[in-house]
């Protein structure tokens, strides 16, 4: 009579005792990885050493030099207060571990032999891939495979391409933040203030792009001694290989063309004096003329809204015609930047980072199905197409004052 409850109790005990606690790791025992930088190793020494240690191991051409940035939580607490903070004499909040190998997973596991806190990727904020790695065939995708596949890492980590060694980004010593990775991550969120950086590209977005047949851009980062500069863009071709970089202004133009400007400024010349506008948002639409497949026509219409931020010209801006002229000035500037970008990406690099292909896919799918193979490849319909830009600016206000000094200094 008592067999059923007994059996039930045994099952309950077994299920708790055999299954429980396998991923129980106390929070202070985890090695929080906030940033990872992937480089190509510079020296052949390590390679030779590896050959000596295991001569029969199959050789792989590609090797990675990976820098993991670990958080040292004790260093984050100001004043070094808190028990057990004593081992950290430099009071640095981070700890970079550099390791080399041909497999990123191997590198990650190799770290377990060197640190008491094994890597934990759920708080990884940034992933920096160096230019060298990205330029090799399939290098970019290979470098990211581990981080995409590992269920522990998040698809929301921001991805950057470094102009120069990637590990230097994690070695900058910012004054404002204790962790370089958090510093870079926060810069990446400043897109509302500056349109010269690309909006953040996350690991998941990159994965999407890697799978898609389109070219794409990833923000460029340039490390310096005390700081980094996050501006410009790295251009990848449809076969996921780094082709080149876009400069700051070209990136701004690209942002206008793709409609991804959420803030920033535009300069212009008005009556031979400098004026600048604070962008508050843009509207972006595309008009197409697809009658001739060999010469498709795209018109990108940019409507930009903003306020007057700075004016060296002493004009009465309350005058309607003056404002219209001013709007014209800014519109011309936007048009110029966009056209410069088109010149570079359309005529020189021949990559569809303006995402016209994806526009066609979304809005003219029946057509897209037929020309899918001939867009950037095959018949190269993208190169043959024609792209024009129309810009319109709406200045909503002139700021808190009309003039700084008397007109004509009289």
């Amino acid at each position: 009579m008592n067999r059923q409850p007994t059996a039930f109790c045994i099952f309950l005990l077994l299920s708790t005792l055999l299954a429980g606690c396998w991923d129980q790791v106390q929070i202070e025992e985890r090695g929080f990885v906030v940033g990872v930088a992937i480089d190509k190793p510079r020296t052949k020494e390590a390679e030779q050493q590896a050959k000596q240690e295991a001569p029969d191991k199959p050789q792989v051409k590609e090797r990675f030099l990976v820098t993991h940035q670990f958080v040292v939580p004790g260093g984050l607490v100001s004043g070094g207060q808190g028990s057990g903070g004593g081992q950290n004499t430099a009071n640095e909040a981070y700890h970079n571990l550099i390791s080399e190998g041909d497999s990123l997973f191997e590198i990650s596991r190799e770290l377990a032999t060197r640190t008491s806190r094994t890597p934990f990727y759920q708080h990884m904020k940034i992933l920096i891939v160096s230019e060298d790695v990205a330029r090799t065939k399939n290098g970019f995708a290979r470098a990211l495979d581990f981080y995409l596949r590992d269920p522990d890492s998040r698809r929301s980590s921001k991805v950057f391409i470094s102009n120069g060694p990637a590990k230097e980004v994690l070695e900058v010593k910012p004054k404002t933040e204790k962790l370089p990775a958090i510093y870079v991550n926060s810069i990446g969120e400043n897109v509302t203030k500056n349109s010269r950086m690309l909006p953040e590209v996350r690991l998941g977005d990159v994965h999407e792009e890697l799978l898609s047949p389109f070219s794409f851009v990833v923000p460029r980062i340039r490390p310096e001694e005390q700081e980094v500069k996050l501006a410009g863009a790295a251009v990848f071709t449809y076969d996921n290989q780094l082709m080149g970089f876009l400069g700051e202004e070209e990136t701004e133009g690209l942002n206008f063309l793709t409609g991804k400007v959420s803030g920033g400024m535009v300069k212009g010349k008005f009556k031979n004096n400098l004026v600048s506008m604070n962008i508050q948002g843009i509207k972006h639409s595309i008009e197409t003329d697809l009658r001739d497949r060999q010469r498709m026509k795209f018109t990108i219409i940019i409507e930009c809204e903003g306020t007057l931020a700075e004016s060296y010209a002493t004009t009465d801006y309350l005058n309607h015609t003056a404002m219209e002229k001013l709007e014209q000035v800014f519109a011309e500037e936007i048009k110029r930047m966009s056209n410069d970008t088109i010149k570079k990406v359309h005529k020189q690099m021949k990559v569809d980072v303006i995402k016209l292909g994806s526009y066609l896919k979304q809005h003219h799918f029946s057509l897209w199905k037929k020309i899918r193979q001939d867009w950037e490849t095959g018949q190269h319909l993208y190169e043959k197409s024609e792209i024009t830009v129309q810009a319109k600016v709406y200045l909503r206000n002139i700021g808190a004052i009309n003039r700084t000094e008397r007109q004509n200094n009289r």
């Binding site: 708790t16 606690c21 106390q26 202070e28």
Partner: protein, 524 residues
């Protein structure tokens, strides 16, 4: 299994009175005789002539008919006996120059009808009933040779004055609370409900204690089925003593294995009258200020009378806050354990790093740490209740210092843990009914264990388990989670939010009231 066993025990009928007890002693049941002397002897032997037994024999007026009053000293009001009984019998008969008949039975009739100026008075021929009346404060008047005894209601012992309820304070609302005297308590209710349909059904529970128990309800509101069930359950009670309403509660509750209280208790008369108006039933027990309200729905336990006294926005927000408090009281340590040991990825990065920093050097895993802290809090709470008030304050200081400061600086616990425990404690104090808060305290440990073993998955499992239990639970056969499960959308106006009073047109459907409408016109 246990339930079946219990119900079998309950079926045993209560049929025991003092007579039965006397029979068990193999004595023949004492009866009243006509002789005063013999009657006095019987009372003395049955009661064992205790110190507080009061027997006074005297002569009626200026005749030589002897008679006696028997009462319990202290229970009976001696002033009243002096003035209305002895005074009248001894003096008034002679001053009013009444003719005292010679027949003893005629004397009884005369005393009963003409002399004794007492409202509650009765005649009795049954010894055991008379004895019972004496033991509850009445006075027996025996006349030598008469076949009947006069029983005079002379109850008048010292009672506590009406004070503010200690366990349930309010900012806005009446300040009076129930007392230990059941008569005072019925007065409290009667004063609030002048409806002629208010019923007080008395019964006596306890083989030895003979405690008065009153079932109070409003006749044309309360569900008759509910009433019959309560009557039936109370009639099954077979126990020696009833010291507190808790005895009754535990006898008649549905599931004694559940941590949740299935019968509410309160010392607020306004809460009782409110519940009666909703269609619930109250059970008053002599000797305790705690009045039982039944059936219970989870809303009753989480609502406070103040929700109705304050304006509806205030009341609704207070309720939302209380539901949040209930959740926090149960789950905040569990979530801390789960997040810190299993899912640091779910904590915002900066917070995760700072928790990791503060836990640096703490020797215990988060689970042990949490169990330690929560247990300490329970200890403090328990010690605080037991201690006399002047010492009670020191407990707070010592506890606060030890937990809040010393433990952290000694590196035994992390400061975040202290915050979590403090939050838990505050949240559990925000729950208006103490017995529900106790239930939550028990469940908290269950949730913590589940979190310690399975992480968030365990927390969710424990939540599901508790929800299954709650939706199974009944109170006197009425669903505990009503109106949420089973769904009764009409009752939602007074569940998580409290709709404006003009919208509260109907009584709770969950209680099946006889009269559903609270308003004649349907409100404005």
């Amino acid at each position: 299994m246990m339930r079946r066993f219990l119900s079998q025990r309950r079926k045993k009928k209560t049929s025991s009175l003092i007579a039965e007890r006397l029979q068990q002693r193999n004595d023949p049941a004492p009866t009243l005789s006509t002789s005063l002397q013999q009657n006095m002897e019987t009372f003395k032997t049955v009661l064992g002539s205790p110190h507080d037994l009061l027997i006074r024999s005297f002569y009626i007026g200026n005749t030589n008919h002897s008679c006696a009053v028997i009462a319990i000293d202290g229970l009976a009001n001696c002033d009243m006996l002096d003035m209305q009984v002895l005074g009248h019998i001894q003096l008034m008969i002679s001053t009013a120059s009444k003719v005292v008949p010679t027949e003893p039975d005629e004397i009884i009739r005369m005393l009963y009808e003409e002399v004794l100026s007492v409202v509650e008075i009765s005649k009795s021929t049954d010894f055991t009933k008379t004895l019972e009346s004496i033991l509850s404060g009445d006075t027996a008047l025996i006349v030598d040779g008469a076949s009947e005894i006069i029983v005079i209601d002379s109850k008048g012992w010292k009672t506590r004055s009406i004070e503010e309820p200690v366990s349930e304070g309010l900012v806005r609302g009446p300040r009076d609370g129930f007392t230990e005297s059941i008569r005072d308590n019925t007065v409290h209710i009667r004063r609030r409900i002048k409806d002629p349909n208010l019923r007080f059904e008395g019964s006596i529970v306890g083989r030895r204690s003979r405690t008065d128990v009153i079932i109070a309800y409003i006749d044309n509101i309360a569900d008759p089925e509910l009433l019959n069930e309560v009557r039936r359950r109370i009639s099954t009670i077979d126990v020696d003593e009833v010291e507190e309403s808790g005895f009754i509660e535990q006898w008649i509750e549905d599931d004694f294995l559940s941590p949740f209280p299935q019968i509410h208790n309160t010392e607020r008369p306004d809460k009782v009258s409110g519940a009666l108006f909703q269609g619930r039933i109250a059970v008053l027990v002599d000797g305790t200020p705690m009045v039982l309200i039944l059936p219970v729905t989870i809303g009753l336990l989480l609502h406070s009378p103040e929700d109705y006294y304050e304006r509806w926005i205030v009341g609704s927000l207070a309720r939302l806050l209380r539901y949040l408090a209930a959740f926090l009281a149960v789950y905040s340590p569990a979530f801390y354990i789960a997040l810190v040991t299993f899912h640091p990825g779910l904590i915002p990065s900066d917070l995760a790093f700072s928790i990791a920093a503060t836990r640096d050097g703490v020797p215990f895993p988060a689970f042990v740490e949490a169990i330690m802290m929560v247990t300490t809090m329970e200890l403090l709470q328990e010690a605080g209740i037991r201690l006399p008030k002047p010492i009670g304050q020191t407990i707070g200081i010592v506890g606060g210092l030890v937990i809040g400061d010393a433990a952290v600086s000694a590196g035994i616990v992390s400061p975040v843990m202290v915050i979590v425990v403090a939050l838990t404690a505050i949240a559990s104090f925000a729950i208006p009914s103490y017995h529900l808060a106790i239930a939550f305290r028990m469940i908290r440990f269950f949730a913590m264990f589940m979190a310690g073993i399975f992480g968030i998955y365990g927390v969710v499992l424990s939540f599901i388990t508790i929800m299954i239990h709650l939706s199974n639970l009944t109170s006197i056969g009425y669903p505990y989670l009503a109106p949420l499960a089973p769904q009764m959308p009409r009752d939602w106006k007074d569940m998580i939010l409290r709709a404006p009073v003009t919208f509260l047109k109907t009584r709770p459907d969950a209680l099946h009231p006889k009269d559903e409408n609270r308003m004649q016109t349907g409100g404005s």
